[in-house]
C-alpha cells in the first residue's frame, strides 16, 4: 500500500487526475486474476519497453491482487473497486452512490489518511480515505474481523484470569465461612451474573443459611431457608446434595421463586445453579441469575463458574472445618478461661490474665474464686469465699489443661475441706496421684470473710509462690510473711498459714512470677522485680480493685514493650468501705 499512497501523493502534488485505468469494475479473482493477467500480457507486462509504462490491464490486475480493498469514487459515485473491496463491501458497486454503502464510505469530519473501524454485516473493517485531486477519493478497506476476534478472546481470557486471581486472593484471606461465602457472592456479582446467592448446607433444624449480594447496595442480605424453599429453586436440591451441575439451558428460569431474587430485580431470564464442592461433602451451592436482556450463560462461562465454584467451595469448607474446630476448642477451653469474678460480701475483686501465647487466652497461670454454697448463692449467704491464684509448670495449652485440673480438684476438695492449709495439702496429694507428668504447681490460696468491725479477713497459704502484697490505707506496701513448698513434688508439704486483716480500702494483691520476672525496661534486659511492683502498688492507693489491676497490668506491659515471655496473672481483693 505504500506504493499506492506515494503514487497518490505524487499525483496530488502534480494537481492531475487519478490514472484512468482504475475506472470501471476490476474483474477476476485476486491471486488467480493476477497470475492470469500476467500471463495474458507481454513477457514482463510492459507495453513499451523504452517508456516502461504499465498498461491498464496490468495495473488493474495489480490492484485486484491486493488483499486490501480499494474503492475509488468520483464526486461521491463509486467508479471502481477491486476484488477485495467487492468481497468486503458488496453494496459499493460502481455506479452507485458511495453513501449507499453505509458508514464505511461516509465519514464526514474524519481526518483523511487516518484509519477508523466500522462494523459491516458481521465484519469489522479498518477504513482509510485518501483524496486525489478535487473529485476523486479512494477508500482503503482492511478486514480485521479475525484479528478483532482474537484480541477479544485474549481480553476475555485476561478478564477471566484476573477474575480468578482476585477470587483466589479474596477467598484465601479468611478462615470464616460467612466471610468466604460473602466474598464468593461479591465476586460473582456482577462479573458472572446480575444477582448471586450462596446457599450454605442446611444446619440446625434443616435451615440453610444464604447470602445475597445486590449491586449498588453495601449491606449484604442474609437469611435462612427451609427444605421446602430449597426445593422451589430448579437444581438447588441437587446442587446442595453435591450432584454434578446441570447446564443452564436445562434450568427453567420461569420457575424461579420470587424470594430468590433481590427486590426490584424483575424476572430472571437465565439461571445457573452450581454446587460448591467441599471436603467430601458439599460446601453449599452458588445460584446465579441474569435478568431480562442479559446474555445466556455460554459454555465458557459455565466452565469458568465451575472453576470458581471449586475455589469458593474449597475456601468455605476449609473455613467451616476451622470454625468447627474453633468451636470445639472454645468448649474445651471454656473451663480454663479466667472466671467472671463474683463479688463476695464486703470485698471487691478484680483479676487479669495475659497469656504468653497471644492467640489463645489460656496458659499456665490461673485464678479462681469459689463462693460458699456455689455461685447460685451469690455469696451473700455469708461464710467464706475461697480465692486462688497459681502457676503450673509449663506454658500454653498443656499448662492450661493442668491449670484447669487444679481448679476442678480444688472445687471438689472444697466440699470436704475449707481450711486453707489442709485444703492445699489435699491438693498436693491429688497432684502426686495425677497421670499428667510434672504436675508441679505453685499457688496462693486464701479464704475471705468479712471482719467483725468492717473490712475483711484473709486466711492465706503460700505454696512455692511469690507471697501476696498488701496495700495499706496509709499507702505503705508490705509483703505477706508466709512461705511454703511447691505442690506436686513431695509427699509432705510445709505450709505457714497466715491471717491478713484488710481495713476498708486496703488491697491484697496476688500475682504470678510472670509479673516480677519480666525482662525489659529501658535497657530491655532488666528484671521488673518485687521492688518495682511494690512501688507501683503503692501508687494505686485509693483506686478501686479493677483500676489497681489494670494499672499494674499496664505498667507490666509497658515494661515488656512487646517482648512477651510468660503468662501474667493478677488478682486483687479490696475491702469495701462503708457507704
Amino acid at each position: 500500500m505504500t506504493t499506492a499512497r506515494s503514487a497518490g501523493q505524487g499525483t496530488r502534488s502534480g494537481g492531475g487526475e487519478a490514472p484512468a485505468g482504475l475506472h470501471g469494475e476490476v474483474r477476476g479473482g485476486s491471486h488467480g486474476g493476477l497470475r492470469a493477467g500476467l500471463c495474458d500480457d507481454p513477457p514482463d507486462g510492459f507495453q513499451d519497453d523504452a517508456a516502461r509504462v504499465p498498461d491498464e490491464a496490468l495495473l488493474r490486475a495489480v490492484v485486484d491482487a491486493c488483499g486490501e480493498g480499494v474503492v475509488l469514487c468520483d464526486a461521491g459515485q463509486v467508479v471502481a473497486r477491486n476484488a477485495a473491496a467487492a468481497r468486503m463491501l458488496p453494496a459499493a458497486r460502481p455506479g452507485t452512490a458511495a453513501a449507499s454503502a453505509g458508514e464505511a464510505l461516509s465519514d464526514p469530519g474524519h481526518p483523511e489518511g487516518e484509519s477508523r473501524e466500522v462494523a459491516v454485516a458481521g465484519r469489522r473493517l479498518l477504513v482509510r480515505r485518501e483524496s486525489f485531486g478535487t473529485r476523486h477519493r479512494a477508500w482503503y478497506l482492511r478486514d480485521v474481523t479475525a484479528e478483532h476476534a482474537r484480541t477479544e478472546a485474549l481480553l476475555a481470557e485476561r478478564r477471566r484470569t484476573g477474575f480468578l486471581l482476585e477470587a483466589g486472593r479474596r477467598l484465601a484471606s479468611s478462615l470464616n465461612p460467612r466471610r468466604c461465602a460473602r466474598a464468593a457472592v461479591e465476586l460473582a456479582c456482577p462479573f458472572l451474573a446480575d444477582a448471586a446467592m450462596v446457599v450454605l448446607p442446611p444446619a440446625a433444624r434443616r435451615q440453610a443459611p444464604w447470602l445475597r449480594s445486590v449491586p449498588g447496595r453495601p449491606v449484604m442480605q442474609e437469611g435462612v431457608i427451609g427444605p421446602a424453599e430449597v426445593a422451589q429453586v430448579p437444581g438447588l436440591t441437587e446442587a446442595l446434595a453435591g450432584f454434578p451441575p446441570v447446564p443452564s439451558r436445562w434450568l427453567d428460569p420461569a420457575q424461579v421463586p420470587e424470594w430468590l431474587l433481590p427486590e426490584g430485580f424483575g424476572v430472571a431470564a437465565h439461571l445457573l445453579v452450581t454446587p460448591l464442592p467441599g471436603n467430601g461433602v458439599p460446601a453449599g451451592a452458588l445460584v446465579l441469575a441474569r435478568g431480562a436482556g442479559g446474555e445466556p450463560f455460554d459454555e465458557e462461562t459455565e466452565t469458568l463458574v465451575r472453576v470458581f465454584a471449586s475455589r469458593a467451595g474449597a475456601a468455605i469448607s476449609a473455613a467451616a472445618l476451622y470454625q468447627e474446630q474453633g468451636e470445639t476448642n472454645a468448649i474445651l477451653t471454656g473451663g480454663l478461661l479466667p472466671p467472671r469474678l463474683p463479688q463476695p460480701a464486703g470485698a471487691e475483686l478484680a483479676g487479669s490474665l495475659r497469656a504468653a501465647q497471644q492467640t489463645s487466652l489460656v496458659g499456665g497461670d490461673f485464678y479462681d474464686v469459689c463462693l460458699p454454697g456455689g455461685e447460685a448463692a451469690g455469696g451473700e449467704a455469708g461464710g467464706e469465699a475461697l480465692l486462688v491464684l497459681g502457676d503450673v509448670c509449663g506454658k500454653g495449652a498443656r499448662a492450661a489443661v493442668l491449670a484447669g485440673q487444679v481448679r476442678q480438684s480444688l472445687r471438689a476438695l472444697l466440699l470436704l475441706e475449707r481450711r486453707p492449709g489442709r485444703l492445699v495439702a489435699l491438693l498436693n496429694r491429688c497432684l502426686l496421684a495425677s497421670a499428667v507428668p510434672n504436675s508441679f504447681v505453685t499457688l496462693v490460696l486464701g479464704s475471705l470473710a468479712a471482719a467483725a468491725g468492717g473490712g475483711v479477713r484473709l486466711e492465706l497459704v503460700v505454696a512455692g509462690h511469690p507471697p501476696p502484697l498488701v496495700l495499706r490505707a496509709d499507702g505503705t506496701v508490705e509483703e505477706v510473711a508466709s512461705r511454703g513448698s511447691m505442690l506436686g513434688a513431695m509427699r509432705e508439704v510445709v505450709l505457714e498459714p497466715v491471717t491478713v486483716e484488710l481495713a476498708p480500702a486496703e488491697v491484697c494483691l496476688f500475682y504470678s512470677d510472670g509479673i516480677t520476672e519480666a525482662f525489659g525496661g529501658p535497657s530491655g534486659r532488666e528484671m521488673y522485680g518485687g521492688a518495682r511492683l511494690k512501688t507501683a502498688l503503692a501508687g494505686c492507693a485509693g483506686m478501686p480493685a479493677s483500676a489497681v489491676v489494670e494499672r499494674l497490668e499496664q505498667l507490666s506491659t509497658e515494661w515488656l514493650a512487646g517482648r512477651v515471655q510468660d503468662d501474667r496473672a493478677l488478682l486483687a481483693v479490696r475491702a469495701k468501705g462503708v457507704r
Partner: protein
C-alpha cells in the same frame, strides 16, 4: 455534640457526675446517669455528652497535676461502671451487621473505644468489644472465628501507631476492613489514611453514621507501606534504643550535676522519660510527621511545668538525642522541631 448545644440541665448533671467520679463515688455517679436515663435522655447522649466530656476533663486535670494518677484511674473506673449501668438498662436487639471493636496493642486508654462499642450496640450492631491492649494474634483469631463485617480500631496515643499499623495490615490481610478512630490517628485522621485504614471517624457517633452508610468497602484494599520507611531510620532507632538511653543518661548526668544525688527510683523515672521521648520520636519517624513530635513536646513541657520539673531538662534531652543521632537525617529534622517547641515553652514560662 458542641458544648453550646447542651441543655443547661445536662450541663448541671455533667457537673454533678464529674464531682461524683472525682470522689470515686461509684453509686453516686451511677445514680446521676440512671436518673437522666429515666428522665428520657437517650443513652447515646449520656455516653457521648456526659461521660465522655467528664473523662476528657479527668485527662486534663491529670496533665495539669491537679489530680494524681490514682485519682485519674479511680475516676475512669467509676465511669466504666456508669457506662455499664447505662447499657445494662437499654438492651437493643442487634439487627445490623457484626463489628469487632478493639484497642491497639499496648493501648490502655480503653474508655473512648468502649464508648464507641456501646454506641454501635445502641445503634443495632452486633458488637464484640475485646477491651484494652489487644494483641494482634488474639484479634486475628477472633476475626476468623466470628467473621465480622468490620474492625473498629482505637488508638488514643500516637505512640502506638507502629503497632496500630501492624494490626490494620493484619486485619486487611484476612479480608476485614478497618475503621480507625481515636486521638492517636491525628485530629484530622491523617495517620489513619497514611497507614492504610479503610476509613476514619473523628467521633463515636460519626463512626456509627459512617458504618450505617456503608462507608467501608466490603473487602479492604491495603495501601503500600509508607515510602519514607525505606530509609530504615525507625528500625535502627528502635534497635538502638537501649544504647541511646544509656548514652543519654550518662551525658545528662554530666550536664546536670544534681543528678548525682538522684535516688535509683528517680534515675529510673528519668530514664523512663527519656525512653518516652525516644518512643514518640520513633512514632513521628514512622509516620514522618514533625508536628506529632512537637505537639508531644509541648504537651510534655506543660505536664513537666505543672510538676515543677526544670524546663531545661526537656530541651536538654532532645539536644542530646539530636547530637547522638548523627546519621539519622529525618530524626534530626523532627528533633529540631521538638527543640523549637521545647524552647518556645521555656521562653513562654520566663515571660
Amino acid at each position: 455534640m458542641s458544648v453550646a448545644a447542651l441543655s443547661p440541665g445536662l450541663r448541671a448533671a455533667g457537673e454533678r457526675y464529674f464531682d461524683r467520679i472525682g470522689h470515686a463515688d461509684e453509686f453516686g455517679a451511677v445514680d446521676v446517669v440512671l436518673e437522666l436515663l429515666e428522665a428520657g435522655m437517650p443513652a447515646e447522649r449520656l455516653l457521648l455528652d456526659l461521660i465522655a466530656p467528664a473523662q476528657r476533663r479527668v485527662g486534663e486535670l491529670w496533665a495539669a497535676n491537679d489530680w494524681s494518677v490514682a485519682r485519674e484511674h479511680a475516676a475512669t473506673a467509676v465511669s466504666e461502671r456508669a457506662v455499664a449501668a447505662v447499657v445494662a438498662r437499654v438492651r437493643p436487639r442487634p439487627h445490623l451487621g457484626r463489628v469487632t471493636v478493639a484497642c491497639t496493642d499496648g493501648e490502655y486508654h480503653a474508655l473512648p473505644t468502649r464508648l464507641l462499642a456501646e454506641v454501635l450496640r445502641l445503634r443495632g450492631w452486633h458488637v464484640d468489644f475485646l477491651g484494652a491492649s489487644v494483641p494482634g494474634p488474639h484479634l486475628i483469631t477472633h476475626l476468623h472465628q466470628t467473621g465480622p463485617d468490620a474492625v473498629a480500631l482505637g488508638c488514643a496515643l500516637a505512640l502506638r501507631l507502629p503497632r496500630a499499623h501492624a494490626m490494620i495490615s493484619a486485619c486487611q490481610a484476612v479480608g476485614v476492613p478497618v475503621l480507625a478512630g481515636g486521638a492517636g490517628f491525628g485530629g484530622d485522621g491523617r495517620f489513619a489514611r497514611l497507614l492504610g485504614a479503610d476509613a476514619w471517624a473523628p467521633s463515636a457517633d460519626a463512626a456509627a453514621d459512617l458504618l450505617a452508610e456503608g462507608g467501608l468497602p466490603s473487602f479492604p484494599s491495603p495501601a503500600a507501606a509508607p515510602a519514607h520507611l525505606d530509609d530504615e531510620e525507625y528500625t535502627h532507632l528502635t534497635r538502638r534504643r537501649p544504647l541511646l538511653l544509656q548514652t543519654a543518661m550518662g551525658a545528662l548526668g554530666a550536664a546536670f550535676p544534681a543528678m548525682a544525688s538522684y535516688s535509683p527510683a528517680q534515675l529510673e523515672a528519668t530514664a523512663e522519660d527519656l525512653g518516652h521521648i525516644l518512643d514518640f520520636l520513633g512514632a513521628a519517624l514512622y509516620v514522618d510527621d514533625e508536628e506529632l513530635f512537637s505537639e508531644f513536646v509541648s504537651w510534655t513541657a506543660g505536664v513537666l511545668r505543672a510538676r515543677g520539673v526544670p524546663q531545661r531538662a526537656l530541651g536538654g534531652g532532645l539536644r542530646l538525642f539530636h547530637g547522638e543521632l548523627r546519621d539519622f537525617p529525618r530524626a534530626r529534622r523532627i528533633l529540631q522541631c521538638g527543640i523549637a517547641a521545647a524552647d518556645g515553652g521555656h521562653s513562654e514560662l520566663e515571660n
